[in-house]
């Protein structure tokens, strides 16, 4: 290649304004790499993202959003953070994990121990959120890093069984470490969130605006979700993200291309566990009361499966997918409850209870998505988008 050493480097020389006119209305004419690689590279993406973010921030003030609705939204976003983490290791790096609940549990109890109040049988240091939240992520991440070399030796079904084992080991540990978890069937209170003395779980009045009890924490989790989502997205399109995808698509081929297999898998597990830990600590706040059964044993297995369902329904190997999937998993039961009355054969004393209908719908949807649209709800969106993107052609 002729190296154009004396050519005007892009962006360094001020380009006269009339030159910009030749770029207007030409979204595909990239003159800078930054614009080429921008996440929100089209005006419509910027518009819709802005609208979505504004709607989310306005949520506590929308008339039809109840306080319980707001805590549902908070739980949804916490689950989304955890699911994004699982999607990094399972969706991007292709390492199926049934043990995600274990890392979520570690985060939850770490957060509760460091941020919660002490009682007669559990410890509690009442630390600041700025300490216990990162600590929850780091402890879970560290455990993930320690366990990863084991997990990196196996793949597929064996890996699924191995990670399943974590959930049961977790059950044992959580039950035995009574001074942290409160013990079997008893549990303990979650941490109370406060940043530098500012309580996040009490009503506030700021600049004359009334905020309900759930609102400050809702905002905190929303901002955290945006930050961690963007971080994950950037990781996924970086060199590391490409290494993840290479390992997923064919580990041997990836190694031949010079992708260090062990290192890549360990990093994937570590980061995924970190996200899981953060999710756990946030859930601990949202739940209020947590027991070892939430995160270990059958309860843990159910939680792990729920995370898998979120990424499968939402969209494997995407960042928006887990958010969509979490919304679906959290909001679907509420919809079913709201409309159960108008569906025949459903309700107390009828053929199906509302919970049964929920369970059946959930299972059916997972089966349908796996068979019909493996890319999940995000895949459905892609189909819609591509349909219009190619208009009036089909490809």
């Amino acid at each position: 290649m002729t190296e154009q050493s004396d050519r005007t480097p892009t962006g360094k020389t001020p380009i006269a304004t009339s030159s910009r006119a030749t770029l207007r209305g030409r979204p595909m004419l990239y003159t800078e790499y930054a614009r080429d690689q921008a996440l929100l590279n089209t005006p419509s993406k910027r518009l819709w993202t802005a609208l979505l973010v504004i709607t989310m921030f306005a949520m506590p003030f929308l008339p039809f959003i109840t306080r319980s609705g707001l805590s549902d939204m908070t739980r949804l976003m916490a689950l989304a953070i955890g699911a994004i983490g699982l999607n990094l290791v399972t969706g991007y790096a292709g390492q199926v994990s049934l043990g995600h609940a274990f890392f979520v549990g570690i985060g939850a109890f770490t957060g509760a121990a460091l941020g919660g109040s002490p009682t007669t049988n559990v410890v509690g240091y009442e630390l600041d959120l700025l300490i216990w939240l990162p600590a929850a992520g780091l402890v879970a991440g560290l455990v993930g890093l320690i366990l990863a070399p084991l997990a990196a030796r196996v793949r597929g079904l064996y890996l699924a069984i191995l990670t399943l084992g974590l959930v049961f080991i977790g059950e044992h540990i959580f039950k035995e470490m009574v001074f942290i978890s409160g013990g079997q069937g008893v549990g303990r209170r979650g941490p109370s969130p406060s940043i530098l003395g500012f309580e996040l779980y009490v009503p506030h009045e700021i600049l004359g605006i009334q905020f309900v009890r759930e609102a400050p924490f809702f905002y905190f989790v929303l901002i955290l979700l945006i930050v961690m989502g963007v971080l994950a997205r950037n990781l996924a399109r970086s060199k590391m993200g490409r290494a993840f995808a290479a390992v997923r698509d064919r580990d041997i081929a990836a190694e031949v291309m010079g992708v260090p297999l062990l290192q890549t898998k360990v990093v994937a597990f570590g980061i995924s566990s970190f996200y899981g830990g953060v999710c756990g600590a946030l859930l601990a706040v949202a739940f209020g009361q947590l027991t070892p059964e939430n995160f270990g044993g059958l309860g843990g297995l159910l939680l792990s499966v729920q995370f898998l369902a979120i990424i499968l329904i939402g969209g494997v190997a995407t960042i928006s997918g887990p958010i969509i999937g979490a919304s679906f998993v959290v909001l679907m039961p509420r919809l079913v409850q709201a409309y159960a009355g108008s569906i025949p054969f459903v309700g107390s004393g009828s053929l199906l209870s509302v919970q049964q209908l929920e369970g059946i719908l959930f299972g059916v949807l997972i089966v349908l998505f796996l068979v019909l649209e493996p890319r999940g709800l995000f895949g459905l969106w892609l189909r819609v988008r591509n349909y219009w993107k190619a208009w009036p052609f089909s490809y």
């Binding site: 009339s18 790499y33 009036p392």
Partner: protein, 648 residues
């Protein structure tokens, strides 16, 4: 927006206005404004006027350092890229002559062109072109230096005449440090009778001839075609965007790229290669677009193919849109290519549903003026593009008159004609032959080293013979009948214009090439070459298996398809002009094999030789080769392996 300063003549500058001075003046007035963009490493890199002119000057200095003198020839053998323009203008800056070669020119033609022009320096793009040059270099005693642009593959060549572009420019820098004003002095001393460029005619008959265009010719062409809106109407300006992709050694693209850029300050974008034109077009979305008929036809065929594969709803909407487009097209054609209130309403209805998206997909969304030239275009194609809102205006000209002859002006379009003579030029038809004659300051100075050929090209009173037979339509517009030497006189003594029939045949999306034969023969016949994309797509949808181009051509179903097109064309012509038989050309015509010129024009004489057996087959009443007549088709005797090898 903002006001763009018009280049003001700087005090102290003397001499005439040339392309070089226009670029220089822009570089001085607005050094940081983008003059062109080139896609490299995945993004479109800005090149400012300041950088452009600096490179031009450095090329000038470098050529001086290499001993190039006034009147020497410098050859450029490259795809379109900024260095083509640097080389071209740098050569002109030192009063030397630029000569361009088509990237597809095979080594034998490169030898002829380098020998004939006596080029001293060759700027070759990459290994492919360097290899050709090295192969023939021994036969070209005048060639002193070969400058290559892409070092990949060439870096390790050990050849005394080779030099990289970087070294070449470094030589220029060195020379500039020694004699800063050397190039400036030569620019100032340029005269309008200086030869600026040799443009080799494509040579459908005989070897190519180098047409000499002077600075005076070029200035006149720039004035008439660009400033006067003779190429694009209204005249281009600095806000316009163009894509450069046709060979720059052809007068049409030189006008559309180099001259339009220098004269009007449009931003040029260089396509990555001829294969990526479609993609680049979508990215760049030019406001002005010039194409040869073949490109327009391909674009239209591409739309048809893609729509055939679209989902039912999309097809339905497209069909409705095409209904509108047809109406708009008809209405506009009836109204001399101008909008009427009705077409505006129809267009506004169709725009949000089909036209906007369709134009965006093919890269024509922002096109405000489009041109077609260099070959006749089918009226159906023009109507289609009129209908979707892309006004294509046919322009006619040739190298020898610097592309200045006739044009269809906005709102005064007559389909099937090449428009009205450009304002202020001498233009008439020969009383006897009907040959088009022109006389104006753009008419060339003659053929390089071929005074006899030059003399043949001019009438005794100094008019240029174009070699095209034309006729007046409504007293204002000119219709091209045919090349004077292509006209067929049948055994019955009838004069027939083959290209009219051929163009009508080629309006079928399935026919790429049609060559009508019948000189001194009792009736007309045709050699047909299919369009592989569309026929392949058609066959696929009919679940018709095929292997090669030849295999597909000779399928009975395809033969029937072609037969139908021929019968449809025959209906439009008088009986004596009807095609009675046809044969399929067993291969795609190619420049490399000497069947076509670099500009994709069919070399008739070569075809008669190559496909002689096919012609004999038709007039000898045998059916050895695949083809048919108006009532039946036959696949011919199956080719043996030997036959295949022979054709391949």
């Amino acid at each position: 927006m903002g006001t763009v300063m018009e280049p003001a003549a700087t005090a102290g500058d003397t001499g005439i206005q040339t392309v070089v001075t226009k670029v220089r003046d822009r570089a001085r007035a607005m050094p940081d404004t983008v003059a062109m963009r080139e896609k490299r490493y995945g993004i479109w890199q800005d090149i400012t006027w300041g950088h452009y002119y600096e490179q031009v000057e450095l090329v000038g200095h470098a050529l001086l350092a290499l001993g190039v003198e006034e009147g020497d020839r410098v050859a450029v053998h490259s795809e379109n890229r900024p260095e083509w323009l640097y080389g071209d203008l740098g050569t002109n800056a030192i009063r030397a002559i630029t000569m361009g070669l088509y990237p597809t020119n095979p080594a034998a033609e490169v030898r002829y062109l380098l020998q004939d022009s006596g080029s001293k320096v060759l700027i070759a793009e990459d290994q492919e072109q360097v290899d050709k040059a090295i192969e023939v270099e021994a036969d070209c005693p005048d060639l002193k230096t070969i400058v290559y642009l892409e070092p990949r593959g060439v870096r390790d060549y050990d050849h005394p005449k080779l030099m990289s572009w970087d070294d070449f420019i470094a030589l220029g820098v060195e020379h500039r440090d020694r004699d800063r004003d050397a190039v400036e002095r030569l620019i100032a001393s340029a005269e309008s009778s200086d030869i600026a460029t040799l443009i080799y005619t494509s040579g459908t008959t005989g070897p190519p001839k180098g047409a000499m265009l002077t600075h005076g010719n070029v200035s006149f062409a720039m004035h008439t075609l660009i400033e006067g809106g003779g190429f694009y109407d209204p005249a281009p300006g600095p806000k316009d965007v163009i894509l450069s992709y046709l060979p720059l050694c052809h007068v049409a693209e030189r006008a559309a790229t180099t001259w339009t850029n220098a004269e009007a300050g449009v931003t040029v974008h260089f396509a990555e290669s001829i294969e990526t034109v479609q993609v680049n077009l979508r990215e760049v979305q030019p406001t002005l677009f010039f194409a040869v008929p073949r490109i327009w036809e391909k674009m239209q065929a591409g739309i048809f193919i893609k729509m055939n594969a679209a989902s039912p709803l999309k097809k339905l909407v497209y069909k409705a849109g095409m209904g509108l487009a047809n109406k708009i097209g008809d209405e506009m054609v009836a109204n001399d290519g101008a909008h009427t209130p009705l077409t505006r309403v129809l267009y506004a209805i169709g725009y949000p549903f089909v036209f906007r998206a369709l134009r965006d997909r093919v890269g024509l969304r922002k096109v405000r003026a489009a041109g077609s030239g260099a070959a006749p275009i089918a009226p159906e194609v023009l109507k289609f593009f009129f209908g979707i809102g892309v006004p294509i205006h046919e322009i006619y000209g040739m190298t020898e008159n610097a592309a200045v002859a006739t044009v269809n002006r906005r709102g005064r379009v007559k389909l099937g004609t090449v428009g009205e003579p450009q304002p202020g030029i001498g233009f008439r038809l020969d009383e006897e032959t009907g040959e088009i004659l022109t006389k104006h300051p753009g008419v060339f100075a003659g053929y390089w080293n071929k005074p006899d050929k030059t003399q043949e090209t001019f009438t005794d009173d100094g008019w240029l013979r174009t070699g095209d037979v034309g006729e007046w339509v409504d007293g204002t517009h000119i219709k091209i009948v045919d090349r004077i030497k292509d006209i067929i006189i049948t055994a019955g003594g009838k004069n027939i214009s083959p290209s009219e029939i051929e163009n009508s045949l080629k309006t079928s999306p399935f026919i790429k090439e049609a060559v009508v034969i019948g000189d001194k023969k009792p009736y007309l016949t045709a050699l047909i070459g299919i369009e592989l994309d569309t026929v392949g797509d058609w066959a696929q949808r009919r679940k018709l298996p095929y292997t090669t181009y030849r295999d597909l051509s000779e399928k009975p179903e395809v033969l029937e398809l072609i037969q139908k097109s021929i019968i449809k064309t025959n209906d439009k012509f008088a009986r004596v002009e009807n095609i009675r038989k046809f044969r399929m050309m067993p291969k795609e015509l190619d420049h490399e094999d000497g069947e076509m010129t670099a500009t994709q024009k069919v070399k008739r004489s070569a075809l008669h030789e190559i496909f002689g057996p096919l012609v004999e087959d038709m007039y000898g009443n045998t059916t050895e080769h695949a083809g048919g007549d108006l009532s039946e088709v036959h696949s011919g005797t199956r080719p043996t392996a030997d036959d295949e090898a022979e054709v391949a």
